[in-house]
Amino acid sequence: MSEFFTVSVLVATLAGGIRLATPFLLAALGETLGQRSGVLNLGVEGVMLIGAFAAYYTALETGSTVAGIAVAIGIGAVMGLIYAFLTVVMHAEQGISGIGIFLFGLGFTDLLFQKQVGTPLPIPGVGKAPIPILSDIPHLGEIFFDHNPLVYLAFLLVPIMWFVVNKTTFGLNVRAIGQTPEAADTLGVSVNLTRTFTIVIANCFAGLAGAALALEVGIFQQNLTAGQGFIAIALVYFGAWRMPWVMSGALLFGVVSSTVLQWKTLGIVSGPSSSLLAMAPAILTILVLVLVSRRVSAPAALTRPFDRAG
């Protein structure tokens, strides 16, 4: 038992938590932006799957991970346009449309994988890129500065997205239309155009999140994401629609998941109790959600389509 508490395990667990958090952090950042503008997208999981497959397949065919990432983001944008057409233009019910996108992504990637790839061939994936000097700091270096570039990107996007929402005119428009779209409309802010932007950006993030996952594990399989897209949505609520809070939630979730993995590898838990423990992150999220959700209210116009009468 004693070796579990050694520093190296702790370091590995924390580093693993950060690494595991990356895909759902990316997806959650995008979803936060979308929800701040009043659009709920339950299809994150589906878009992540599509992004994951796109990245995997592109990398497999071209041997380029960069091309894989680019294609995943591009396909995310296309999915975003589709979702925007459904919900912003056609006023389709957002909850149902999102679930439709999820089911589509799940089935479509499975089908493509069977037809195009068949047997799971590994791809190179993205390698670690330790940050010079910083990664040499004992322990901290390994926890924070010895990851693949997508991890850095995800965490760098937290302050960037915070800045976009709170310090730019685009962000001001987003905050306004998520709350009182009528007021924004009377000042000449195009509610539906702005929402289309946030949806496309959110879906690009989801596509990138899928790519991060596929390139991290270096393989694709059916339902690779295993609910991470839904975790991302929960994290948005957990984080009360604030980017730094969403990141805290993602880290908490990532570290708990990583701890569970470590315990399994070290044989601290096994058999049925290990499957039970695998639910720990989800249960923790639900608990925190219950505690947090009392305090903060969602953007008032969330899921409400906007149309000017007359």
Binding site: T186, L187, G310
Partner: protein
């Protein structure tokens, strides 16, 4: 002919027709505004005033008619189109984002240098505009923290900030106190002196007489008359609006006051900003009595009413109904004790815009027989009841299945009043019942209030409209900064006696201030 007749009209609306399903909101309406002029639009609730202005502001597309600006025909397809052409509009219902600050609301839609929303220049220019027009409001306050009067100031600042040449004011004074109205009029006169054109909408005839250069009266979507203050009286305007002579003053007979129904002792309530909004408040309301609560808005009236109704926690003190203290009040438990509430902000607290008229009429009683039996809604009972209310309270709506937000402002108020006055409450807390309501309907609402009093209800009437308070109340209590400044009986209630108390001058004191 006056000299203004020679000026080129800055706005000519000709033959504007606008139809909604089942409603002809504007029927071939003409409106001409000259620079430097205040043109008033007058008309009953639902006459089509806001619709005409929304057509001008690009929110609605007219079915027929043309709009000319400075003589040129234009097609205004969106609010940004209107803003770019120098048109500003202050909407009847607040168009403010509650979770943003005043400065952010002002800056919304304006863009910024390099896409950044830097509030510093906004704050600076806002301070200049506020200073110039005497409209003071803290630019960093969140809208949700502001009292109604302050919100209206923020709304006006938003338009002034954009340098509108032609400004539409859709019932801007509905939420302002008399001194605030005077201040606004100073602002507006300054604007007309700058050759700006104003379209002014109000139900208060003395304001219309004071401010207008031209008056256009609408009735049922059509122009029913065009006149000037010099050629009309309040009575003649009322008759043009309603189509029949209207009683503008009323005498109320005294009644016996009954048992004490609502008793408030030593009440302290915390406001949104953490201040003590209601301080050591003592008040009793008896059966068969209307107690008027007069005061400038933002002096604790909203917090008091919210506390009585269980919408806001009580810091200390007690509220008792029929002698029994209310512990841990919630809106439902308070309602069960026989309290009804007409809130000040009807669009936010009083009615749900996306619900139909019928649903809003039943918001309180829907879970009780005959409307619900064994958990199922009884359609026919509901529709016959709702149709009766709509008819009795003269709510102007195509049918009871229309979304409430499609009604005109005054008609939404009537829906809330109808619901609250018909639930057999013993205690009625009524805030600004006739704000934004036309004179015909105000007359009707006053009659209903007096009817409730006759029937033995204990009524707390919170109003900034001094005429209303003085006409209806048996006693007038004046609040200032959350405390009672004084009480005046019906016999002694005059605009002067109450106005002095409202501004903090007690009886016999020459010029003492409130604190």
């Amino acid at each position: 002919m006056t000299d203004t007749d020679r000026a080129v009209p800055m706005l000519q609306m000709e033959g504007i027709t606008k139809r909604f399903p089942g409603v002809l909101a504007n029927d071939s309406v003409d409106l001409t505004v000259l620079p430097g002029q205040v043109h008033t639009l007058l008309g009953e609730n639902g006459a089509g005033k806001s619709t005409l202005m929304k057509v001008l502001y690009g929110l609605y597309r007219p079915d027929e008619g043309t709009i000319r600006l400075d003589g040129e025909p234009v097609s205004i397809t969106s609010p940004s189109d209107a803003i770019n052409r120098g048109i500003g509009m202050i909407h009847q219902h607040f168009m403010l984002v509650p979770t943003l600050t005043v400065a952010e609301n002002v800056a919304l839609g304006l863009g910024g240098r390099a896409g950044l929303s830097d509030m510093r220049p906004v704050r600076q220019r806002l301070a200049e505009v506020s200073e110039r027009y005497g409209l003071h409001v803290n630019p960093d306050a969140y809208i949700w923290q502001l009292a109604v009067g302050e919100r209206q100031r923020a709304e006006i600042l938003k338009a002034l900030y954009r340098d509108a040449r032609l400004l539409v004011l859709d019932e801007p004074t509905a939420v302002l106190t008399p001194p605030e109205v005077e201040e606004l009029f100073v602002t507006l006169r300054q604007m007309t002196a700058d050759d700006k054109g104003l379209v002014f909408i109000s139900h208060k005839l003395h304001e219309v007489m004071e401010l207008s250069d031209e008056i256009t009266v609408l009735r049922d979507g059509r122009v029913s008359g065009q006149t000037r203050p010099s050629e009309s009286t309040r009575e003649s305007l009322a008759e043009l609006m309603v189509g029949r002579p209207v009683e503008l003053t009323r005498n109320v007979a005294a009644t016996e006051r009954g048992e004490q129904r609502l008793a408030i002792t030593g009440l302290n309530v915390i406001g949104d900003r953490g201040n003590t909004a209601v301080k050591n408040f003592d008040l009793a309301v008896h059966s068969g009595e209307i107690v008027g609560l007069a005061g400038v808005s933002g002096n604790g009236q909203r917090e008091l009413a919210d506390a009585i109704f269980g919408l806001r926690p009580i810091r200390s003190g007690q509220i008792a109904i029929d002698g029994e203290p209310v512990t841990a009040p919630t809106p439902r438990s308070v309602r069960q004790r026989g309290v009804a509430y007409v809130p000040e902000e009807r669009m936010v607290e009083g009615a749900i815009g996306d619900f139909t008229v019928a649903e809003n009429l039943l918001l309180v009683d829907y879970h009780q027989p005959p409307y619900t039996r064994r958990g199922l809604l009884n359609r026919s009972a509901i529709s016959s009841w709702c149709n009766r209310l709509v008819e009795n309270y003269r709510v102007k709506t195509p049918d009871i299945e229309t979304p409430t937000k499609n009604l005109s402002g005054g008609n939404i108020q009537k829906v809330v009043i109808a619901r609250e006055f018909t639930c057999d409450a013993e205690v009625l807390v009524v805030a600004q019942p006739t704000r934004g309501v036309d004179i015909g309907a105000a007359e009707y609402i006053h009659e209903r209030l007096l009817e409730q009093r006759e029937a033995g209800a204990a009524i707390l009437l919170i109003s900034e409209d001094l005429d209303e308070v003085i006409q209806l109340s048996d006693r007038v209590v004046v609040v200032l900064e959350g405390q009672i400044m004084g009480e005046v009986d019906r016999a002694d209630a005059t605009p002067r006696s109450i106005g002095l108390l409202m501004s903090g001058v007690r009886d016999g004191e020459a010029s003492a201030s409130a604190d």
